[in-house]
């Protein structure tokens, strides 16, 4: 008997691959099925967001933010306008704040639904994906009803929002929430409590809390590792301090703390919290004007600001430097998916190819935001 020799093989996952969630290329070193190293190659979707921003006015940056995180455009807008308003030190009316929170939370639900559904797809379950898209569709319909767009809204403007809510929006939204809440249990029965799903996700791809923090992992991924950090709660922006909601954190429900299942589960719980916020916001929604009198070309005072907000993927930060002209001197987006992806190599070592797909899916990356 000779000695059995194995050799390392380079496997190229992507840029065209069913489950890289966009155009991501992973250079994977494998020994059989076991992965020893992953080198992500980014930039296939680089659209020069930051360079563009230096050539357009402050208002014109907003449509670009839509296209960064195209699954949570409302939250991208939200982060940008919050940062701008903090830089310009203006206060917007209560109605605008409420509308923004409603839109942001609806978009969070939509984004999480897609994330969870696609995660099911990565694991091999097709049906939950369509169930979740079915419900996401109703949220998109509401957005379309409000601002005419289904995916890229350009809805929140500095100092206001582009359109007021349609007059029966509240009724539609409450109707949706009443329909939607029992659906969460349906998803759980279909996918979450499935034995195979638990086997595939529990204990897989554990990100310990210190590693997560060091890699700048944020949002549901960080909370999945058991760190209680939510910008909405800890650095409240807009009017999030008026609402009562919990920050779900991972607890190792079926396995180790910080595994894929925890990240998945935190998202599922967050949907419930978003519904809670929405119900409160819809109840208190004040009336008023949604446009603030601002000059056509806004000129923020000279200075710089870094502000982060909680997007469905984590801490979405904007760094805006103004030189007093109507064109920003620098806009930098700190994208949460970018930081989440950076820990893939560390987390995936020693797991199998199927697990890499599971880990990648659990990080819920959006390539539009990574490459900007």
């Amino acid at each position: 008997m000779g000695v059995v020799q194995t050799d390392q093989m380079v496997l190229n996952i992507g840029p065209q691959h069913p489950s890289t969630h966009g155009v991501l290329r992973l250079e994977v070193m494998t020994d059989g099925e076991i992965v020893s190293q992953i080198k992500p190659h980014l930039g296939y979707l680089h659209r020069c967001f930051e360079k563009h921003s230096e050539n357009v006015t402050y208002e014109q940056v907003i449509p670009f933010t839509d296209r960064c995180d195209y699954l949570a455009s409302m939250n991208s807008n939200f982060g940008y306008v919050v940062t701008m308003e903090e830089l310009m030190e203006i206060k917007v009316s209560d109605r605008v704040e409420y509308i923004r929170v409603i839109m942001g939370e609806l978009n969070r639900i939509a984004s999480h639904l897609l994330a969870l559904g696609v995660y099911g797809l990565d694991i091999g379950a097709f049906t939950p994906f369509l169930y979740m898209l079915r419900d996401r569709e109703r949220i998109l319909d509401m957005f379309e009803y409000t601002c005419g767009a289904r995916l890229l809204y350009n809805y929140m403007w500095v100092g206001g929002v582009s359109h007021d809510l349609p007059k029966d929006f509240e009724k539609i939204c409450i109707g949706f929430l009443d329909y939607f809440e029992p659906q969460i249990e349906e998803y759980n029965n279909l996918l979450t409590y499935n034995k195979i799903f638990i086997e595939r996700t529990a204990d897989v791809g554990v990100i310990p809390a210190d590693v997560a923090i060091s890699y700048g992992v944020s949002g549901p991924n960080l909370r999945g590792s058991g760190v209680n950090w939510d910008v909405r709660k800890d650095e409240p922006y807009s009017i999030y301090d008026r609402f009562e909601f919990d920050v779900p954190i991972g607890e190792g429900k079926f396995g180790t703390l910080g595994d894929c299942f925890d990240r998945y589960w935190v998202r599922m719980l967050e949907i419930k919290e978003s519904v809670r916020i929405l119900r409160q916001a819809l109840k208190d929604l004040p009336s008023g004007d949604v446009h603030q009198a601002l000059p056509k070309k806004i000129r923020p005072p000279k200075g710089s600001i870094y502000r982060r907000t909680e997007s469905p993927r984590g801490d979405l930060g904007y760094y805006i430097i103004s030189d007093g002209s109507p064109i920003p001197s620098r806009v930098k987006m700190r994208s949460p998916a970018f930081t989440a992806l950076s820990c893939l190599d560390e987390v995936s070592k020693g797991w199998m190819i199927s697990d890499v797909i599971a880990i990648l899916g659990s990080l819920d990356i959006v390539l539009g935001e990574i490459d900007r």
Binding site: N55, I213, S214, Y215, G216, K332, R334, D371
Partner: protein, 166 residues
């Protein structure tokens, strides 16, 4: 800890490394680039500071005649305080020690800043372009950046000179 306490903690350990600058906004500290790695390690490991998270690295070009800057947004999960470190670089030869082994996310953030501004990070183990292709020329986000005329035979369309705003 507030910003003054953080500043004095750094000054006590590394005297002369903090540069007083009145133009900075309220939570910024400007420090000298020469000892950045030591300062960064201290800021992470000191139990009172405990900046365990590097939120963001932003490269800034202050203008064609002026400096390049790196701005580091640090945050402490333990104490929930934050600070922004500003470091100026010489435009001719922007160089700074890498903090990728202090905060692991520094790896990609530094690669991004390198990619966009050409700030080179000493001690970075894998300093390659991250968003642009490897053979891209120039540093796109610098104010004096001139685009390539063609890239692998693809002619880069010239952007018409826009008229000044207003």
């Amino acid at each position: 800890m507030n910003i003054e306490e953080i500043k004095s903690a750094i000054t006590n350990k590394f005297s002369g490394s903090v540069i007083e600058n009145d133009e900075l906004s309220k939570n910024q500290i400007e420090i000298k680039g020469s000892k950045w790695l030591e300062v960064a390690t201290f800021m992470r490991d000191n139990p009172d500071l405990s900046f365990d998270q590097l939120e963001c690295i932003t490269g800034v070009d202050m203008g064609e005649e002026s400096n390049l800057q790196s701005r580091y947004n640090l945050h402490s999960m333990e104490y929930r305080h934050k600070v922004e470190i500003v470091i100026n670089h010489d435009r001719k030869k922007p160089e700074i020690s890498s903090v990728e082994q202090v905060w692991r996310i520094g790896d990609w953030f530094e690669r991004e800043t390198y990619d966009m501004f050409g700030i080179s990070y000493k001690g970075h183990r894998d300093l390659r372009r991250i968003l642009c292709p490897d053979d891209w020329e120039g540093w796109p986000l610098r104010k004096d950046y001139e685009g390539q005329e063609s890239y692998h035979g693809i002619v880069v369309p010239k952007i018409k000179e826009e008229e000044e705003w207003e």
